[in-house]
Point group: C2
Chain length 264, copies 2
């Protein structure tokens, strides 16, 4: 099905804007303008996708099929207010998993177009495997956005605002918090003159496992075995040096013992 | 260099014993006996590696170059006491990251031979990439174990007991605790009728990233940005339904804010 959205402008030129705009461009959709506060950033992205670059929001042409706000959460409101004043009818979406539809107050065709992935400008990404979550109360726009998302991804879902909020919390757990565990381990290894790189094969295996088994079934380790001797031993080691890590170790062990009903 | 250890017996026939014994066998080292409490388990492994199987510890022949204890932590002591009484000179190692050398009290040639990986019997594993950590106070045994480990792995390290303990704590963080985060996310998604599978590409990307960047530099998310509005919003959502997840979310956000000195 051909998308009724054939001409898009981007507000933003960061990680998400760069990956999305390039994917749409490759799919044959015209990128009309790219706006960024930084002229050189706007120029850099627009040159790759045959778009016009602007760094003065006054020059934004709202005569397009869709405006995508791929900017930091904090600035969506200010920028969209300007656009809504100029043209309350233009279709607009933001790409944030953590901001609701209310940021677009006054807009008549507003939605959320959230790619559930962590992007880096410098890193290639197979966007066809990225899940896109679409949220809008407008049925016509919903269909337009589904067809548009399907031009670049095979995983397109319609979620309510409430579901999106829960999914974002789950994403923070699996992405940001797991990375923080790795960072804590890196820090701890550095302190004890251990080579953190030694842990990489173990981290990779942890992930390979949950591609085959649900994580609830893949759990291993002292807490899963109910091995209080080792838990106490580790807590003692940590209490002498690492207050924050001690708290995390205790809370996680308790949470695992609890999940598998191993509490003594 | 040819290993002076050419004839090994295994105590245990579980995940670690299975992978190690098969790797040694492929490297041309003779596996003499496999002991397990369960005769059928011992038989199953020994048939793959042309070894004799025994399920009566009395039948263990201590006239070998090395005995490997690849059994649950709790039973190493009892089993090794028997072996030490019979032959205090025989070289012996266990494969646990969480037990010290003192479990082998009275043995004259004891060490730790710890593969830093999470094994499943049913899952193939490229053992040449698994780090092996060797701990012993006996210089001759140390050299023998290094040469032996190098017949199956390209990553062999000598660590003190103290370093091994710290490394095991770090391994619990990156393996067991990260899996628990994924399990909590799975549970949370189930409760809210969300498809947990949607998170898999994000989890994979989290890991791909730390193959390129140190996790301390790869951190993203609300806490890393110091975005208190979203943190508070998520905590409010969780406080209404999920006490344990609320605690973990708060502790992690605080720990990230703290690591990057973003505390207000």
């Amino acid at each position: 099905m051909t998308s009724s959205i054939q001409k898009i402008s981007f507000i933003g030129s960061g990680n998400v804007a760069t990956h999305l705009a390039q994917a749409f461009y490759k799919a044959g959709i015209q990128i009309h303008q790219v706006y960024s506060m930084s002229c050189s950033n706007a120029e850099q992205l627009s040159s790759k996708i045959s778009a016009e670059y602007i760094c003065d929001i006054e020059r934004l042409d709202t005569n397009v099929d869709l405006i995508v706000f791929a900017v930091k959460d904090e600035v969506i409101k200010d920028l969209s207010e300007y656009v809504i004043r100029k043209n309350p009818l233009v279709k607009m979406v933001h790409t944030s998993g953590s901001i609701g539809l209310d940021v677009f107050e006054g807009a008549l065709n507003a939605g959320i177009f959230y790619p559930l992935q962590s992007f880096s400008k410098s890193k290639e990404m197979d966007i066809s495997k990225v899940p896109f979550l679409i949220t809008t109360q407008n049925t016509l726009l919903r269909n337009d956005l589904i067809v548009l998302a399907e031009t670049i991804s095979s995983k397109v879902y319609v979620y309510s605002e409430d579901q999106l909020k829960h999914l974002h919390i789950a994403a923070v757990l699996v992405n940001n918090f797991s990375n923080h565990l790795f960072a804590l381990a890196q820090d701890y290894c550095n302190k004890h003159q251990l080579d953190y790189q030694l842990l990489l094969p173990l981290i990779q295996e942890t992930i390979h496992k949950i591609e085959q088994f649900a994580p609830i079934d893949a759990q291993t380790g002292p807490a899963r075995r109910g091995d209080y001797t080792i838990i106490e031993n580790h807590l003692k080691t940590l209490s002498e040096e690492e207050e924050s890590l001690h708290k995390i170790y205790k809370l996680f062990s308790d949470s695992i013992l609890n999940m598998y009903q191993l509490k003594s």
